[in-house]
Symmetry: C2
Subunit: 162 residues, 2 copies
């Protein structure tokens, strides 16, 4: 019924981001002046379908009872000259467009647009840094939201699990 029974060849433009492919699982910590610091479990999946972009699905859960917390879905688009574009949807009612760079296995991105539904919280800027060291992926996210300046919000360490 569904096609793509066999995985297509990697699109050559995806080579700089190929190190992200697969499933990463680990734990992180969230912080912000307006909330209590919290720990979370996390899974990130990166996949490809033979096109020049990576699919991205992230989800986090509470460490005590496994209940779902945040999630994100979107696409990573490598461009010429080490540029990277990222488009994301958040279940909190936000969309995010980021642009940045990939150098080796380090990605640095800054939001160029954050839009929201009429009931969503006001987030005005996000920056993201992802750094892979072999089977370890470390990322950090900074956020400007609800009247606060750009401040550290998330940090996690994930291991490649498949």
């Amino acid at each position: 019924m569904s096609p793509v029974q066999t995985e297509p060849a990697l699109h050559p433009d995806l080579t700089p981001l190929a190190f992200l492919l697969g499933i990463w699982v680990g734990e992180g910590q969230g912080m912000y002046p307006t909330i209590d610091t919290f720990d979370y479990g996390e899974e990130i999946r990166f996949w490809h379908v033979g096109k020049p972009w990576l699919g991205y699905a992230q989800r986090t859960w509470a460490l005590d009872d496994g209940r779902s917390l945040h999630s994100e879905l979107g696409y990573w688009r490598p461009q010429k000259g080490g540029r990277v574009e990222l488009v994301l949807a958040h279940p909190t009612g936000l969309t995010e467009v980021d642009e940045g760079t990939v150098a080796g296995t380090t990605l640095e991105l800054t939001s160029t647009s954050i839009e929201r539904t009429s009931t969503a919280k006001d987030v005005t800027a996000l920056t993201r840094r992802y750094e892979a060291h072999g089977h370890l992926l470390i990322y950090s996210v900074a956020m400007a939201a609800v009247g606060q300046p750009l401040l550290p919000h998330l940090r996690a360490e994930l291991e490649h699990s498949s």
Copy 2:
């Protein structure tokens, strides 16, 4: 390793959208003044994790060889009074925020924001209509893009497959 081994209870706010849950598979047709009309296969998945939103993953493929065409990822957020919010990311470098209504099993949404990365095509407006009749889901998308007004772009009929 990953939690949520058992499906959590449906969040009560999701009741108006519960008819969408599951996997829908079928075929559609794409059209626009700037392109040749084309047919495609499609799968849409709607899921929930116990929170007041639906996850949404869509992908289409060529009917001749099964190669991947478009896809979309995002979240549906029902609100009070039959309102619905939708946030989407597209691998073409677009983000989409839609607002609209659900009445019975008919959803009608209009974009309130479409943002894009610097290399993405210029899409200025989208409207979406989804209509379920038992195991059949029919949708249509109209688009204003690349200098054209809002015009029919996609239409598909999908069957509930699980």
